[in-house]
Structure formats: structure tokens, C-alpha cells
């Protein structure tokens, strides 16, 4: 019935499902405009480091490949990166509430490309958080790390925070509210305690310690600190991190499918 006219056949879909760097740049810019996100992800971890990481009582205690101050610096960088990536992922909640997700369905952007943009945006903010803590740490001159570990540990913190970009996405799709980050910040504080980022797990009761070892930040926290403390990397740490990544990613995919299904 309908002959496709020549100029219609010249109309094509974009490459990579619409993924592009202009969109990524604008997403990062949006996040930089959000003062609350900036405060929690860039400033708070730095302040925590300045409070807890410079205490003369223990800051200069030696570890295998660094000192206690560097250990705390890594904890705070991880906390900041996790906050940042969670906040980045959770932006989908706001976008769904504002109808932007629906608007995007009137463009060629594929759902997978959208998720890729969101994850990368979250990771850019996470990188900012790690760099902020490291730069301030370096400037104070107190934390000591063997040369290459500044890069190695920083990278492992950053890559590890990918788990929480998935967490943010999952929750962003699950919770239909503009204030999703207020809820998530609270869960992250719990996870941070469970992972031993704020208080060493050795100070917990045996029962709490056993519970803590199953929480989402436990494996990551152990992994990023391992090179500083020395000693072997335990398989359960890797298992913990991978298991939570699978859980969060599966949850995000499940909710995302539900969200984008055409009814």
C-alpha cells in the first residue's frame, strides 16, 4: 500500500543507539549544577578525611606499604566515590518523575545507550570524588603510600564504585520519588559502617562482624585497602563485591525492563 519514497530510505537511525559525548557532557554539567550532590560527593568525604585522617595519635602509624592516614584517605575516597556513583545512577528517578524518560522515547536514544550515559556520568562524578580526596590528602603531606599505589589504589576505588552506579540505577528505577537520594544516603551510611569504612570491624562484636561481612561495601573496602596493608587478597572479598554487583545490576535490569516495556 505504501511505497517507501527515496528520501525516507535516506533517513537513518543514529550509530550506537544514540550514545554520544555531547549528551554525556551535558549530563555531567547537570550534575555539577546540583549543589547538594556536590556537597555530599566532593566536599563531605574531604572534610571527613581532614577530621579523621590527620589525627596525630595514629595518623603516622606505619602499615606495610603506607600509613594509617593513607588507609583512612582510601576509606573516605571509597565513601565519596560510592556516594557519587549512587547519586549519578539515582538520577533516573528524577528523570522518570519529570517525564524526561518518556520524552527520550520520542528520540532515537535506545534504552541501553541511555543507561550507558547514566553509568558513565556516575563514574565521572565518582572519579571527581576520588581525585578530590587524594589531592587534599597529598596536599596535607600526612598520608604515605608507596608511589605506584596512589594510582593503583585510586583506580581500584574508582572501578569498584561501579557496583554502586548499579545500586543507584536499581533504586532510581525502584523508588518513584524526586528525593530518592535522601533515602539512599542513609543506606550508604549503614553500608559504610558495615563495610568498615568508618570504624574498623575489629571493634564490632563477633555477631555484628559476621553480619557486616555480608554487606555491600565489605568486599570492596577490603580489596582497596589490601595493597596498603599487604597480605593476600581473600576470595570472599571478591565474591562479596561481585555478588552485590550482580544483585544490583540484575535489579536495575529488571526494573528498567519493566519501565521501558510498552503497554
Amino acid at each position: 500500500m505504501t511505497a517507501v519514497a527515496p528520501d525516507l530510505s535516506s533517513r537513518r537511525a543514529p550509530a550506537l543507539g544514540g550514545f554520544n559525548l555531547t549528551a554525556l557532557r551535558l549530563e555531567v554539567r547537570r550534575m555539577l549544577r546540583n549543589r547538594r550532590t556536590m556537597l555530599f560527593t566532593l566536599i563531605l568525604p574531604v572534610v571527613f578525611f581532614l577530621i579523621f585522617g590527620l589525627n596525630k595519635v595514629y595518623a603516622n602509624d606505619k602499615l606495610a606499604h603506607g600509613n594509617e592516614s593513607a588507609f583512612i584517605m582510601l576509606s573516605m575516597a571509597l565513601y565519596g566515590a560510592v556516594l557519587a556513583t549512587t547519586a549519578g545512577g539515582a538520577m533516573v528517578s528524577i528523570e522518570r518523575a519529570e517525564g524526561w524518560s518518556r520524552q527520550l522515547r520520542l528520540t532515537p536514544l535506545s534504552p541501553v545507550a541511555y543507561i550507558a550515559i547514566k553509568m558513565l556520568t556516575a563514574m565521572v562524578l565518582g572519579l571527581g570524588s576520588v581525585v578530590a580526596v587524594f589531592v587534599v590528602g597529598r596536599a596535607t603531606g600526612v598520608p604515605h603510600l608507596d608511589g605506584i599505589l596512589w594510582i593503583g589504589c585510586g583506580l581500584s576505588v574508582w572501578v569498584g564504585s561501579l557496583v554502586f552506579a548499579a545500586y543507584g540505577l536499581f533504586m532510581g528505577y525502584l523508588l518513584p520519588t524526586v528525593n530518592v537520594m535522601q533515602i539512599l544516603s542513609f543506606t550508604l551510611v549503614l553500608f559504610a559502617f558495615g563495610g568498615g569504612l568508618f570504624v574498623p570491624l575489629s571493634q564490632f562484636s563477633p555477631l555484628l562482624r559476621t553480619i557486616a561481612e555480608y554487606t555491600p561495601l565489605y568486599g570492596l573496602n577490603q580489596l582497596v585497602h589490601a595493597p596498603v596493608i599487604g597480605g593476600d587478597v581473600k576470595l570472599v572479598w571478591v565474591a562479596n563485591a561481585v555478588a552485590w554487583l550482580v544483585i544490583f545490576a540484575a535489579g536495575a535490569i529488571w526494573r528498567f525492563r519493566k519501565d521501558t516495556a510498552r503497554v
Binding site: 517507501v4 519514497a5 527515496p6 543514529p14 544514540g18 549528551a23 518518556r102 522515547r105
Partner: protein, 324 residues
């Protein structure tokens, strides 16, 4: 980003679309939400270059129909095709775009950034400065979306919809919440754009809007098309008045013979006469019959909808829309 010259695109459009190329083809489309039948069997074809209004009261199924044309929802049964392809395909190729009623904007971006973002998602796109100009929002390009008025936001949605230089532009009640001035300015932009040969489909519940801007009106009620024709034809359906008189022993058959009478309804001693020429009917009733207590009321568009759906007249009233 590649840029197409608008004039060249318009020529290409005119050259490559023989009249009768179907922009939209709905075949016995139904859509149910649970037990609610929002769309109950719509057959509709729109040719390239037509400007069509989907007119109907709230809840008539306009938005549901538009959502299916845009691929935002799937029909429960029936076929939807846009330029001979699936709606989602047509969207990824930039063939259709839409201006939705509300929402769909990020408050923390500026107007220009929103357009730039959207432009980046298409394979080819019009220059962002050009669409801002055509939508009349060049002056507010640096304003945050959160600070824009409803009318400005609607112009922004229009600018975004222009980006892929779509063959078909769909507008869902685009002037809801705008003041008279905003509404007029908005339609002036649409009209200027449509003059270049773009196919336009818009939903509205204002008869005046449909009358002023569409060359074909599709009247929708209770999820069905009850009339389809030119603005003049549709207006005639709702232009009549109702003359109500007390007239004991009225002869309905005789009253129907009076020039200008469309229909006669007897309710005891009360007679309701629907007429296209109420003056003539009133003159006749007052001079040739003992009718008293006369009331003459305008028949609104809502009444026309009710008349069209209620009296089973739908098929008779429907007329074929002439292709431009």
C-alpha cells in the same frame, strides 16, 4: 552533526511524496486498559502533507491514539503503521516527532542545552540555532527550563520536535494552559512550519483551534471516530441550535418538513427541535402554531459529540476527508 537545508528538504519532501503516500495508517485499532476500552476500533489514514486535527472531548481516546502512533504504547489489537513502518522505527529514523502536553523537560538544563542534548541523539539534525529561531525562543536560549513559563516550555518542546526535520509532527493538546496570546503565537509558528509541506496531526478539544489550523478534522468520541471531514463539514454538525417549545399535540412528521430542521424530539407537550436555521424554525412556530415558552440554545461541540455517538448517526455523518 549533519545539517539539511530546510528549503532543500521541503523540495525533496514534495518531490518524493506522491499524493496518497500514507503518513499514518491505523487499521481497526483497539486499546484496552483493563476493562476500560479507551479506543474501540479506529481506522484512520493520513496522507503526506495533510494537517489533521483529532478533535474530541476529554476521555475520547485522543491521547491513547496518539501514544500508539508514537509507539509509546501498543494497540491491544489492530495495526499501526507510520510511513509504512513500525512507529519506533519511524522515530529512530527521525520521521516522526511530537510535542507532548506536559512534562518531559529537565529543569536543570537551559533551553539551548535541552535542544543541544536532543539534537545529539539523532543521526542528522537541524542546526540548534535555527530551531530556536523558528520556535521563537532565541532570546531565552540561556534561561533555565525551571524558569520558563508554560508557553515558553511548550515552544521549547516544539523546537525539540523540529530537530529531526520530521515528515510528521504530532502535537497532543499543545496549547493546554496557554493564554490567548500564547496560543495564537504558538499556532502561528506551527502554521509557518506546516506551510513547507510537513504533515501535522494535532489533538485538541477546542473546535476553534481545529477549525483555524486543520484542513481535516477527525472527530473522536468514546474511542471511536464519529465524523471525519473538512472543518466546514464538522462545524456544520455542531453549528445548530436547539429550539424548545411547549406545543401540545405536536406533529413530529410535519415539523420535520420545516426548512432548517435537523431533528425533532417529542417529550410529552415539550418539543425539542434541533435546527441549523433556528430563526426560520422560531418564525414558523410562533406564527403557524400555538407554540409557547420558547427557548433557543446553542448546541455546543459537546452536544454535537453526544448527538453523533448517541443517535447511531455516526456513519451517516462521516464524510471522506479530501486529500490536499
Amino acid at each position: 552533526m549533519t545539517t539539511t537545508s530546510t528549503a532543500a528538504a521541503a523540495r525533496a519532501r514534495a518531490a518524493s511524496h506522491p499524493p496518497g503516500q500514507l503518513a499514518v495508517d491505523l487499521a481497526s485499532v483497539h486499546k484496552n486498559f483493563g476493562s476500560l476500552q479507551a479506543v474501540r476500533g479506529i481506522d484512520l489514514t493520513i496522507s503526506s502533507g495533510e494537517i489533521v486535527a483529532l478533535l474530541g472531548p476529554n476521555g475520547a481516546g485522543k491521547t491513547t491514539t496518539i501514544d500508539m502512533i508514537l509507539g509509546l504504547s501498543r494497540p491491544s489489537s489492530g495495526e499501526v503503521s507510520v510511513f509504512g513502518t513500525q512507529p519506533r522505527q519511524a522515530i529512530t529514523r527521525g520521521l516522526i516527532s511530537a510535542v507532548m502536553q506536559t512534562g518531559g523537560l529537565l529543569k536543570d538544563l537551559t533551553v539551548a542545552e535541552t535542544v543541544e542534548y536532543t539534537a545529539s541523539l539523532f543521526a542528522t539534525s537541524e542546526p540548534t540555532g535555527e530551531v530556536l529561531r523558528r520556535a521563537g525562543i532565541t532570546e531565552i536560549a540561556d534561561r533555565r527550563v525551571a524558569k520558563c513559563s508554560g508557553g515558553e516550555q511548550q515552544r521549547l518542546r516544539f523546537a525539540m520536535a523540529l530537530l529531526p526535520d520530521p515528515e510528521l509532527l504530532v502535537l497532543d493538546e499543545p496549547t493546554t494552559g496557554m493564554d490567548v496570546d500564547g496560543r495564537r503565537n504558538f499556532w502561528a509558528s506551527i502554521r509557518e512550519d506546516a506551510a513547507k509541506g510537513r504533515t501535522v496531526l494535532f489533538a485538541t478539544h477546542y473546535l476553534e483551534e481545529a477549525d483555524a489550523y486543520a484542513d481535516r478534522i477527525v472527530l473522536l468520541a468514546h474511542g471511536q471516530i464519529v465524523a471525519d471531514g473538512t472543518a466546514a463539514q464538522i462545524k456544520a454538525l455542531s453549528a445548530g441550535r436547539t429550539v424548545r417549545v411547549t406545543l401540545p399535540g405536536a406533529d413530529a412528521h410535519q415539523l420535520r418538513q420545516v426548512p432548517g430542521v435537523d431533528s425533532v424530539e417529542l417529550r410529552g407537550d415539550t418539543v425539542l427541535i434541533h435546527a441549523s436555521d433556528s430563526d426560520a424554525v422560531a418564525r414558523y412556530l410562533l406564527t403557524a402554531t400555538p407554540a409557547r415558552d420558547m427557548e433557543i440554545t446553542a448546541r455546543g461541540i459537546e452536544d454535537a459529540f453526544l448527538a453523533l455517538t448517541g443517535d447511531g448517526n455516526a456513519t451517516g455523518a462521516a464524510t471522506e476527508g479530501a486529500a490536499r
